[in-house]
């Protein structure tokens, strides 16, 4: 049975491997089925992401699904997984409201089933419920925006939406945009609709969470791009400026909130999920800037910001799937997601450690990896604000830059922490001591992605050319793959330029030169292993080393106003008379999730209150129900009579 499943997974990976080829055609391929398919450059770009990630993740799944094989076979997992990939593919190629919503729901349901795949744990069921409620909340808004467009244009076809874009009144566009933004934003995980993300991603099997985080939430970005650029008919008009402003500020808030929760998290997959919120925020900052620049009729800057945003979309898909697969590998061998019981894994699983390090460096935006390129482009877009002739907006963008810079700083700290605590120092538990390297297929899946991350980092024009041709940005001619990214200022001088390939070469040659230099000056010396310095007390053990919680404690203290930590200290003393001689001191420190406390709990309790009141009319007696029907009938008759 396992073999048949593996065959399905393999065939899917072959198909998905073929998809990038179709993406490179980049023409309009309108074919008409019952459910119309429409693949233009934008769809092709997202299909490329899907194809790349699902190929690697499928390869990884061959090994990973054995994790579940012992328990209940992999047929269900394989079926759901493949169906999930298929539905994402069909979402980004749909060309009418019906097919879009149909596949959008299929995607939501298959991912819901994947979230509750390990249904033995009650917490997974709970997170599945949160997920499905939130995702339908979003779908409701998307549906509403589609219906308004239908009323306006009288058609369900996306082609008609596209043509009608210029003639639609601005007010309608504004309403449609708001509804679509809330709807897709829920799927993307923007604050304050993000609460499902940190629950659903850790619960799903890691191959599914890699796909969910890397690709599924990108379909929301796809939807937003479609609504803004296609159906919204974005043009150089001040009316659109506030769209960009909304995207920008929500993006800034999401990125800061996401990263601040990520840095204190000790469940590795939850930390990654929070970091997804952060990265969606960065993508939205780029998208928002692009809209603002377009509104102020600055097309070249708008393209810069759009490229930054889409490059980050691609990059996030790459490194987040890599990190989720590595987290899954850890779970696979030591059966825990809690970082406090990891440690020392770099010696047990050297390859996974190396691949995770590549992912961590690249998500932290460090050169010469891919995360740095998109962060650099976003920063340059932020630095181009002097061209916007509106002081308030300029100052607001300066604050966004503060948020962005803070995100970058804390983001790097987050991944230092995750890597340091889970892979370095002594093993913190028996489980971690028995860790072994994962099977080759799993390593291969991760290796493919890590290689992509490195290539996209040192040859950024591969990504940039892909985006510019996919989005049909004609003013931006394709560049030599080894060229410099160069931006010039108004006086024609060089504003900024970057060539990551040369940076890498410089790094390597500097290291080589100074290695020789140090060998010549220092002559040959020997190396001796000895125990870590313990101040002469002897016996350092794993309990004394820094843990995940203690490592982020200073940051928790600095951002106290945000976390509002609750510290509960319990002391056990030997004798009441002497409180200083303690047997045991226990500190229970929890950070609160302000959004759940302040926003969701009141809403939920209000709903429960309301439903309680409604229940009063549900008496269960037949004659009462007959009375209701009677009243309704009379009211309807009156209503019909009154309307002319």
């Amino acid at each position: 049975m396992i073999a048949s499943i593996l065959a399905i997974i393999l065939s899917i990976s072959v198909i998905s491997n073929g998809e990038p080829l179709r993406a490179s055609l980049l023409g309009n391929i309108p074919t008409l089925f019952d459910l119309p398919i429409y693949v233009d450059g934008v769809s092709a770009f997202f299909i490329f992401i899907l194809g790349l990630i699902s190929f690697a993740v499928s390869l990884y799944s061959i090994g990973y699904s054995k994790h579940y094989a012992v328990k209940n076979g992999t047929s269900v997992l394989g079926f759901l997984f493949n169906f999930f990939i298929l539905s994402i593919l069909l979402v980004v190629t749909s060309n009418s409201v019906f097919s879009f919503l149909l596949f959008w729901e299929t995607m939501a349901l298959t991912s819901f089933l994947l979230v509750i795949y390990e249904h033995e744990h009650e917490s997974n069921l709970k997170s599945g419920m949160t997920y499905i409620v939130m995702t339908h909340f979003g779908t409701a808004f998307i549906l509403a925006s589609f219906l308004i467009l239908y009323i306006q244009t009288g058609s369900f076809s996306f082609d008609v939406f596209r043509q009608a874009a210029s003639s639609t009144p601005m007010l309608i566009k504004d309403i449609v945009f708001i509804l679509a933004f809330i709807g897709f934003g829920t799927k993307a995980g923007i604050v304050p609709f993000h609460i499902w993300l940190p629950q659903a991603h850790p619960s799903a099997p890691s191959n599914a969470s890699a796909l969910m985080s890397a690709v599924m939430i990108k379909t929301a970005i796809y939807g937003l791009v479609r609504f803004i650029f296609d159906y919204g008919g974005l043009g150089p008009s001040m009316d659109f400026a506030w769209w960009g402003l909304l995207l920008l500020s929500v993006g800034a808030v999401s990125s800061v909130v996401g990263v601040l929760y990520a840095v204190v998290e000790k469940d590795i997959k939850r930390a990654l999920a929070f970091s997804s919120i952060e990265n969606i925020g960065i993508i939205l900052i780029g998208l928002g800037l692009s809209v603002i620049f377009a509104a102020f009729n600055l097309p070249s800057l708008s393209i810069l910001a759009l490229v930054a945003s889409m490059y980050h979309t691609l990059n996030h898909a790459v490194f987040k799937s890599l990190l989720f697969m590595c987290a899954g590998s850890i779970d696979y061998t030591i059966h825990t997601k809690n970082m406090e019981s990891m440690g020392g894994l770099i010696r047990k699983m050297p390859w996974t450690a190396l691949l995770f390090l590549i992912g961590a460096l690249s998500i932290s935006g460090l050169p010469p990896l891919n995360g740095f390129i998109s962060e650099w482009l976003t920063m340059q877009a932020l630095l181009s604000t002097p061209y916007i002739m509106n002081t308030n907006l300029q100052i607001l963008i300066a604050f966004t830059s503060l948020a962005f810079a803070l995100t970058a700083g804390v983001g790097a700290a987050t991944f230092v922490k995750i890597f340091g605590v889970s892979f370095l120092s002594k093993s913190r538990s028996e489980l971690a001591l028995n860790a072994v390297e994962v099977p080759r297929t799993m390593l291969a899946g991760k290796g493919v992605i890590a290689f992509t991350a490195v290539i996209l980092g040192i040859l950024p024009f591969i990504g940039i050319n892909l985006i510019t041709s996919a989005f049909n940005l004609k003013s931006f001619s394709p560049n030599n793959y080894f060229g410099y990214i160069s931006l010039s200022n108004t006086s024609g001088g060089n504003f900024a330029s970057l060539n990551p390939l040369i940076v890498l070469l410089l790094l390597v040659s500097v290291a080589a030169c100074f290695y020789v230099f140090v060998r010549i000056v220092g002559k040959a010396t020997s190396e001796r292993a000895f125990t870590t310095w313990d101040c002469g007390f002897g016996g350092l053990n794993a309990r004394m080393e820094y843990s995940a919680t203690s490592l982020s404690q200073p940051l928790r203290k600095v951002f106290k106003f945000f976390y509002k930590p609750r510290n509960k200290i319990t002391r056990e003393v030997y004798a009441e008379s002497n409180p200083y001689l303690r047997r045991k001191v226990k500190i229970d420190s929890t950070t609160r999730n302000l959004f759940e406390e302040l926003l969701y709990e009141p809403v939920i309790s209000a709903c429960i209150f309301l439903f309680d009141k409604i229940r009063m009319i549900q008496t269960g007696k037949v004659n009462a129900y007959l009375l209701y029907i009677m009243i309704t009938l009379v009211l309807l008759l009156i209503f019909v009579r009154l309307t002319p």
Partner: protein, 314 residues
């Protein structure tokens, strides 16, 4: 500036001179500090002796350490020496001026720090973990401050490319605008913070009295320690050079001839030593702050760059 072979060689040489001179500046700082405390102090060349001696010593590596621990000092040094190659020191030219900008330098510093922090965690020592944890917190705050300072500078001088930026700074007649002044305040705080000097951290002590950097590198010895010490000096001098070349670009060579380069070099040496002395002098006047008061100081840097940005726009 028309670029010929001599310019390229000089441009490359100035970076090597920066790398070579950096321990001297550290030595001068220590000397000034000692003299203001009525001590004689070690020779200004002491940092060189230390580095060479450390290079000749055998390494002791913790038995807990992995390949990352052995690898980290090299990445750290390569990243910082590479950023030294990108900046103009006494001629407004760098052979790699198109390779990267100030944001790349932030990135390279980030890379160096990433590996140093991991090196501190790798040996399972509680003290190394403590240093790493604090460095993590500080770097998460210094990075936004540095980015915002660059934001203010790029608004004022129209570039993040370092050569263009220094060039336009040196061509301005009025350099002192409120916006630039606030950027200078912010930059000065960052220079002190990145150098790990008082009131942030005390570089002169070891173990108990040191909170951050020295705690992280406690387990290193021999060649690797030499590299870390040296890269720390280079990093300090890079930041100093950036500060003096952007905020006081007078005297920097704009064309290549014996006089201009000679003057440029002499002026650079004087400016760098004076700034270093100033920092050392300030250091004797303040006490180390509590760790959790330090974010306040970085907030001042962030706030003053924000004020600088606002001043530019209104």
């Amino acid at each position: 500036m028309n670029v010929d072979i001599i310019t390229v060689i000089l441009g490359f040489a100035q970076s090597l001179i920066l790398i070579a001179l950096s321990p001297l500046i550290t030595g001068i700082m220590r000397k000034v500090k000692a003299r203001t405390q009525k001590r004689i102090g070690a020779s200004v060349f002491q940092p060189y002796y230390d580095i060479v001696k450390l290079m000749r010593k055998d390494d002791v590596v913790s038995d807990q350490a992995s390949w990352l621990f052995r690898f980290a000092p090299w990445v750290n040094f390569a990243a910082i020496a590479t950023s030294a190659l990108l900046i103009p020191v006494f001629i407004i030219y760098s052979p790699f001026e198109l390779v990267g900008d100030l944001l790349l330098i932030i990135g390279l510093f980030g890379l160096a720090r990433f590996f140093t922090i991991l090196g501190g965690l790798d040996t399972a020592s509680a003290f190394g973990g403590l240093g790493s944890s604090r460095e993590m917190m500080l770097s998460a705050l210094i990075e936004p401050a540095l980015f915002l300072t660059i934001f203010t500078l790029s608004l004022n001088f129209g570039a993040t490319n370092i050569t263009t930026l220094i060039n336009s700074a040196s061509n301005l007649h009025v350099l002192i605008t409120p916006s630039v002044l606030f950027a200078l305040i912010s930059m000065f705080v960052i220079v002190i913070a990145e150098a790990g000097r008082l009131p942030f951290d005390n570089p002169a002590t070891h173990l108990e009295l040191t909170m951050v950097h020295e705690a992280m590198i406690l387990e290193y010895s021999g060649k690797r320690l030499a590299l870390i010490e040296w890269s720390q000096s280079i990093k300090n001098l890079i930041l100093l050079t950036l500060m003096i070349n952007i905020f006081a670009p007078w005297g920097i060579a704009k064309s290549v001839s014996i006089e201009t380069v000679g003057i440029g070099f002499a002026v650079f040496l004087v400016k760098a030593s004076v700034t270093a002395m100033l920092i050392a002098f300030i250091e004797t006047r303040v006490a180390k702050w509590r760790l959790f008061r330090i974010p306040d100081l970085i907030t001042i840097a962030i706030a003053s760059s924000m004020i600088g940005i606002v001043f530019f726009y209104i």
